[in-house]
Symmetry: C2
Subunit: 461 residues, 2 copies
């Protein structure tokens, strides 16, 4: 370890409370990107980060898009040092069901339980807490050495939780400005509480919203029941037919481009000591629901899925209403692996719906965000450098894993800027991201910041 | 026609505007019984009717129940005159989706279109407009003859739209007070705009709310998709499997007690000139959805059904949220005919759910209102008397029909008080009851009032 890194790490330790206060200020901003009511809050979150980065000597600015603005910032590094682009997102998921939160989601608090301190707030983990580990690592370098080990550019997005509609055109327009030697993305997790990880493969996604329309108005089920089409019945059939009895997805051609996991990769995964019973037990379940004959790691890391994320139709208030609804709708997401093509998946789903649609009904189909899966080269030099830096910080061998979630930006960086991404994050499985009572371990925040300080130096070697 | 009836009818014609103003006052009261937020409004509606009936010389009072109060009123008639019990309900359906209403639902207005004037408001038809035809007929008799042709008792309920939970115990306690020679129920419709009808058969109902519980919290579909049970998938399967490909209901033993419609009854129905294309076309559809090989009149009048009236689960707001919900629920109603037993239907549905429930999931099942089907004796003397009175008023032969809706009170009157019910109403198929823009023809209200004036005298013969 260099003396300057040593100094930077000591600075991080000494100033943890101040770092936390800066994170809290960001967490208090209600930047829910899926809901237009929070448009200004999203902008405020972006502006907060611009101000932070400017104060650190970055050339930082808010860039307008048709949706929420991007934050772009640049900082020089030593001559011949590599150029890294760090990516994170300042937007957060909606907070419903609000009644299940123990604390107001936008009033961050640190609570201690079983000896571990955790930051509780919407976005504490995904992704405000994570992105701030990098910002605070830069702060430590700047405030101790006056500069950064690498040339650093930063891109913070405000639409990650709403499908990133502005990302592709923005990257296209700003390709020259943003292209770096490698991207650093902090939106993934540790393997476990003590084991750092680099995520080398990510599932892609195709998301859609389907609305089935039947009668031209809501009907009384006494007068019309047994004669008029019920859109909830049609929708139920469409959704129930998405899976076969072995847990596979039934869409025509769905498995085109899906590759089996190589045996050596499976061997690494099998050595991780993953407990299926514990994984399911933690969420109150005991029986894997997915494709038969596949381990849970395989099901969630390397197999494509179809999940209904929301459904609504007819009367859903208190009591009962004997109505046949005019329409019913569902939000459906497909997780993709290998070379599955999101556009073909959308087309196959439309065909699946149309095959079950009565002649006198119609449907609307909205495509939300989509992106293919991505797979990093396991032997990339930067993976090795970063892996060693992580092992040093956590005093435990880091592991290279896959992830079931989708981070479309990684595909965009590869396709649009020809740039690989190092996925390093400090989230834990119990962080409850996207759920009530989201949290982030204080240790993740603290050692995450220290990790980035190390990785920045390692990549400069 | 007697001179006194003649006078009463003329009085109705002359005072139509005042009658309408009294109906409007009742329509302005937001008596939604399914929503506890409207508890006081329900009471206000009951009290309004108590006051109206008291002003007409009835011995009227509000009777408390564990839910919304009943209105009970009595008025003597001539010696040896029959005793009739009139039933209606002052509660109304919820108003959502409110954005589809052309006028505020609790601000009644009369609008003219295609030469017909209609009263627009929630409850204009179901059932405030209908019950007021009887109250106003009583008023006409009282204000012209000083008395009523029959001994009249009245029962107005405030929980008809929420499954009548208090009705059975109330009738049991008040059986002696309420038992009459026959019940008159005004909650049904005309055959068409010009043809009055008596409804001699009604479908019963079994309604329930099912909630499927899977994980102990909402999950991120990236981390858990493909491994964790999704309650929306389970619910979709439960609902999709309710029907076979011929439109029949699959619950075990569901058709026990269902009888085929006698050929002579079918012949009457076939002579009614019912247009299936027009019936479906009016609601924007063209293909009957129910059991194959049955006419729509048969499907909606004489066959049992299963309908999903509402469904909700996961994220249903704007945009997209990649969540696997902890729970999903649906409101389901079964329409019953013949001797189908609602309790057996509930049991069969529970069994159907349990057969599709994964070992690590559970479900809640709430029974809302239930009641068997009812079938009136086609040769009942009072049917003949009332039918003739209706034919006189509308100058067209009245018809005896069936109805697909459920009016559980009719079963209660039969079972608990040993009393048949004459179902006479003036609603029309386009009244949009239970839907936005509910309406009631001014002609229904006016000639409905005149009809009851006639029926009261006819039954006294």
């Amino acid at each position: 370890m260099s003396a300057s890194l040593d100094t930077a790490l000591a600075h991080i330790d000494k100033n943890l409370d101040a770092s936390l206060e800066r994170l809290f200020a960001l967490l208090r901003i209600e930047s829910i990107s899926t809901d237009l009511a929070y448009k200004q809050a999203c902008r405020d979150a972006g502006q907060y980060l611009v101000d932070e980065l400017t104060s650190l000597g970055f050339d930082a600015s808010l860039r307008d898009t048709p949706g929420h603005p991007m934050v772009v910032a640049h900082h020089d590094g030593p001559a011949d040092a590599p150029h890294v682009l760090f990516y994170g997102h300042y937007d957060v998921q909606p907070i419903d069901p609000i009644e299940l939160w123990d604390n107001p989601p936008f009033e961050p608090v640190v609570k201690e339980r079983d000896g571990a301190k955790r930051i509780h707030a919407r976005g504490a983990s995904d992704d405000k807490g994570q992105l701030m580990t990098f910002v605070e690592a830069c702060r430590a370098w700047k405030e101790t050495s006056g500069t950064l080990p690498c040339r650093v550019s930063i891109l913070f997005e405000g639409e990650e939780e709403s499908g990133s509609p502005s990302l592709e055109p923005f990257l296209e327009a700003a390709a020259q400005e943003l292209k770096a030697d490698i991207a650093l993305v902090c939106d993934t997790g540790m393997w476990d509480r003590n084991t750092p990880a680099i995520t080398v493969s990510l599932r892609g996604m195709a998301t859609s919203e389907v609305t089935i329309h039947a009668a031209n108005r809501d009907l009384h089920s006494g007068f019309y029941g047994g004669a008029a089409q019920n859109p909830i019945h049609i929708l139920s059939k469409v959704l129930a037919d998405l899976h076969d009895t072995d847990g596979g997805v039934t869409l025509e051609g769905f498995y085109d481009g899906v590759e089996e996991v190589p045996e050596d990769v499976k061997a690494v995964w099998n050595s991780l000591g993953f407990s299926e019973a514990e994984f399911l037990g933690d969420i109150g379940l005991s029986v894997p629901s997915g494709e038969k004959g596949r381990s849970i790691l395989e099901q969630t890391w390397a197999r494509p899925t179809a999940e209904v994320n929301g459904i609504t139709g007819g009367y859903t208030g208190e009591g009962f209403k004997t109505v046949i609804a005019a329409q019913a709708s569902a939000k459906v997401s497909f997780r993709l692996v290998g070379k599955q093509d999101p556009h073909k998946v959308h087309a196959a789903f439309r065909k699946h719906i149309e095959a079950r649609l009565p002649a006198d009904c119609r449907y609307d189909y909205i495509e939300h965000g989509s992106g293919p899966a991505t797979q990093l080269d396991w032997d990339l030099p930067q993976v090795k450098l970063a892996a060693d830096a992580l092992s040093d910080e956590w005093e435990k061998e880091s592991v290279r894993i896959a992830m079931g979630g989708s981070i479309p930006i990684v595909g965009n960086f590869k396709d649009q800027l020809g740039m690989d991404s190092l996925l390093i994050g400090f989230a834990l499985p119990d962080n409850a991201i996207h759920s009530p009572n989201e949290k982030y371990d204080l240790k993740s925040f603290h050692k995450g910041t220290r990790s980035w300080a190390r990785v920045l130096e390692a990549l400069a070697q």
